[in-house]
Symmetry: C3
Subunit: 140 residues, 3 copies
């Protein structure tokens, strides 16, 4: 790793793969059980539209919903962190801990594991809080 | 404030705190009323899963849903704005007006205040439109 | 176009307009049929709150939901791509193909066109996979 932008790039790539994994998980269940809620999707395989998404698809959707509430703002804080040159030595630790926590969060959501899902969520938020403090220490 | 990247960093930090505030608001109501829709969450406190989220949690979810439709693209436009060096003197005004409008939007959503919620939404969109015009003026 | 940051800026602007188009589409139907699910919105025009959103609004919401699952991570990968200076000659092609694919995805979703919606989705994901490979080739 050369510098802080490399850690950012690695986090973005790993988080993309994590989100893609949910899409694959949902697609696997939708196709495996030939169950589609969107009418044109069901029609394409000659089925009636399902009234509800499969439980696994719903669970994936909730995991993804939490992702989109957390990951984009982390990535923006990461850009700010790089630009204001906040604590370069901590960047790798913070970015990778956040990324690991989000992998853990998705795994716990799909496996219905509590309190570990909430622990993973809290670790992610703690990383972002630390980034905010380090950023504010530079710009204020 | 030294330069335009500092305004970006400040906007990212303030928008993170705003989103976090919704999470705290939702958690406060879920825990205060011991009402959880996700089965493993309810089981963890020895309750049955609720059929529906609490009204306050649903309202928070709608506010957050509007956030994720608006804030990430604003943050990306902000990066573009900085990179192409579009009107540096306006950056602070645009970034802070957008941020303030999103605070107002969330407050109005949680308090069910119309037409102020729509006004706040429109101010945010107007800031992004202005950013688009200023960016396009440089790159085209 | 001078350089790779200009392609990024153009993609961000075009994707903003695409998302705004869904908001306009939803608002057009909500206002045209005076149908609002949120109580204070309905009350503002002297109506009862609708039990469900209009079909067109629901369809727009699903298109938008897919956008927020894909566009922010693309934009972060774009930042990473620029920072690590991955294959500058391909940036314009990748960014514009992704953007075009997302326009096609929304159009197909609103028009209920399959398998074209899935094709558009897959093209977007393929662009992001290519960006990941090119980024990892630099940083690893």
């Amino acid at each position: 790793m050369e510098d802080i932008t490399y850690w950012y790039a690695l986090a973005a790539v790993l988080l993309f793969f994590k989100m893609l994994a949910i899409a694959v998980y949902q697609g696997f269940h939708r196709i495996g059980k030939m169950t589609f809620k969107t009418p044109e999707d069901a029609a394409f395989v000659g089925r009636e539209a399902a009234k509800e998404e499969l439980p696994q698809v719903q669970r994936g959707a909730r995991a993804w919903s939490n992702d989109v509430e957390n990951i984009p703002i982390f990535l923006a804080l990461g850009v700010a962190y790089v630009w204001v040159e906040a604590a370069p030595g901590l960047a790798g630790w913070l970015f990778m801990t956040f990324t690991g926590a989000r992998y853990m969060h998705t795994a716990c959501y799909l496996a219905a594991l509590q309190p570990w899902r909430t622990v993973a969520y809290a670790i992610g938020v703690a990383c972002m809080l630390a980034m905010c403090v380090l950023i504010l220490a530079v710009i204020l």
